[in-house]
Symmetry: C2
Subunit: 409 residues, 2 copies
């Protein structure tokens, strides 16, 4: 990658204060094949794999303006814009990423990577295993957050990006950002961790386990090899999604959205009594569950919930989180939402306190938003203004990168 001092000296564009910005427009997925085996935390390797990615904006001359967006359970590399294949398929963080948006693609080169093990184009359990000519199924290795970070790092290498201006994510994506900051400290200038947690609680793991049991005990699961039976464990996956979905919304938000609203009483005013859809919240959840079960791979659901369970930076430091986070050199931004009961503010504060004890730079914001865990995906003005301001600050640092130092690192 060449650098140009002319370009380096050009003024850094600052995001305009438009309320929303505009879309990155039509985007196309790139598929990057990798032949160097990926060594996994489990001891297994993934010998050859492909990763689906999207990029938005332009990488600057010294490759200092790259932002990596890490996705959570059910999202993908398609972060922003409109899919070239499907005009209805808008990126999952389109309100955050785009020209004039908080993560401004007029300033930053933004990358979304579908993690290996997922089901949106990267190699996963539904992919054909070269050795057998059949889908991997249950034989696909267990992956961890650290494995994903390694895979993402290879994408960065391929694109000539040594150091990210920011690595950023919400929920499970925030865990990946945190892991980046710990395992590749020299490659992360800013680490943005939103609505996340240093590690799952027993209750978090319990909900994941219920979801997995619903999938695994569905007779259509066939031990994970349902592809060979031309079926999918649709019911189990639907129940899994329903239980997950409840944990994404706040109690208040559900009350606000659905309350106890029931189907219309029959003529004569008599209430209906039965086990069908009687309350609006049931209709909503069933719809969410069924929709999800039509596009998401059940083995991927198992794999990703397990990666969530296993993530624990302090696993190798005898539970000592201070020691675990000590290697990070990034500037941290942590954001939590008051009504998030999946990963409540207290969990973000644990990370902040640990960083501050270590003398590591951290900014923390607790947003009073009604939408529970899902708030990180939504367009809240205070939240987006905060993100915008933080990325304006990052943009102001871009010129200070010394390309010589970078090249010799």
């Amino acid at each position: 990658m060449t650098t140009s001092s002319d370009q380096m000296d050009a003024p850094v564009p600052i995001a305009p204060q438009a309320a929303t910005g505009s879309s990155v427009g039509v985007v196309r997925t790139l598929f990057l094949p990798f032949n160097e085996p990926l060594p996994l935390a489990s001891g297994q390797t993934l010998d050859a794999y492909a990763l689906a990615i999207e990029t938005y904006g332009t990488l600057n001359a010294d490759a200092s303006n790259a932002v990596l967006i890490c996705h959570a359970l059910n999202a993908s590399h398609h972060v922003a814009g409109v899919s070239a294949d499907n005009p209805d398929d808008i990126g999952w963080w389109d309100n955050m990423v785009g020209p004039g948006k908080p993560v401004d693609t007029d300033v930053f080169f933004v990358i979304g990577v579908n993690n290996p093990g997922s089901c949106f184009g990267s190699t996963g359990p539904a992919s054909i295993r070269p050795e057998t000519g059949r889908p991997w199924g249950a034989a696909f290795p267990v992956l961890t957050v650290e494995d994903w970070v390694l895979a993402q790092a290879r994408v960065a290498d391929r694109l000539g990006i040594w150091r990210f201006a920011a690595v950023m994510g919400g929920s499970l994506g925030g865990m990946q950002a945190l892991s980046w900051a710990i395992t590749c400290p020299e490659r992360v200038a800013h680490c943005v961790v939103i609505a996340s947690t240093p590690r799952l609680s027993a209750q978090n793991i319990a909900f994941n386990e219920v979801a997995r049991r619903a999938i695994i005990t569905d007779p259509e699961f066939h031990g994970g090899d349902y592809y060979a039976h031309n079926t999918v464990p649709r019911h189990g996956l639907s129940v899994a999604r329903m239980v997950g979905h409840i944990t994404y919304l706040s109690d208040d938000d559900m009350a606000e959205k659905f309350g106890r609203t029931q189907r219309e009483p029959a003529a004569g005013g008599a209430f209906h009594y039965g086990y069908g859809v009687e309350f609006e919240v049931e209709s909503y959840l069933r719809y969410q569950g069924e929709k999800f079960s039509r596009y998401f791979d059940a083995n991927t659901y198992l794999l990703i919930t397990r990666a969530l369970d296993y993530f624990d930076p302090a696993r190798e430091t005898d539970g000592d989180m201070e020691r675990a986070l000590a290697p990070a050199t990034a500037d941290f931004l942590l954001v939590s939402f008051t009504t998030d009961w999946r990963f409540p503010p207290a969990r973000s504060r644990e990370i902040v306190r640990t960083l501050l004890k270590n003398g590591q730079p951290a900014t923390y914001a607790e947003i009073d938003a009604p939408h529970g865990h899902d708030a990180f995906l939504l367009d809240d003005t205070r939240y987006h203004n905060l993100m915008r301001a933080y990325f304006v600050r990052i943009a102001a640092t871009l010129r200070s990168v010394d390309p010589v130092a970078r090249a010799s690192a």
Copy 2:
């Protein structure tokens, strides 16, 4: 029922201040057949049915010392003591009910009734339907809390109890106590509502719906007629129980009990990675789910969760809870537990506020206990001292009952 002024003048025994009291000993279930049709809220009727009950202590001469204990989802009429059929089967509220216990069976005559629709001896979906000679299955009518109150009232009639010294329950049992106080005000002197709610929130209904979907979409459910197929929807019922169980425990309690403790690393210190039981909380939940699926009837699970969903005293008063509770004349005791996130203290406070607005007598205690919703079943000293004191107060009122007034009511 005869009364004796001698007995009426005898001093009321006051519960001793022993820490725990003793067991009521070996108890035997009574089965009461009813042939008068039970008219149901749904418009259907249950033409003939039997109810399983247990009683502890001695009904006094004017039948003024009776306490009705209402059970929640997975409990039964077997409230206290040791089942005559099974020495390992201790009553579900044995720490609360017995000689010298907070609800002192040396003072009170305590009744437990298995609600119709349940699966512990009373007529329910697994019972033989006389018209067909086969189990009711899906044809069993939907029952409501109000239907149960009517059935319990018939038990009281049968036993010659006109007015209860107290009607009491936790969780769904508390809803029944509340319903008693509203629908049969003259029959309830004290209404004890523990860890309950005036009506389910959307989130509560959502969790119930996930549980029901897990059962109904299990292929072994056979539309509710699994008895005819000699099977049970074991997997669905197990998942249902797992999700329920999570909501019974507090996040902190789970963290305390299980934390993130994992199976022992393999020799050499390598962590194990897989989809089996890796964390202790998984092992616990699976065990709970599987145990439950061996003894509980799936149709009963549907029926009782639906009764929970439908319960809403203000359903007939256009949502106006003040007007709904206005008919009650009982003295109320409400108890909630700080870490209960299924029915949090705020929900009990709603009831208290409504009663106080109506000028109805209410005592309220919020117990700082770590065990979540399940706390109402556990032996917490402050909680039990409170209950003991309240029932001592009730005992002191027994002599003030005027048997003549009662007989003419």
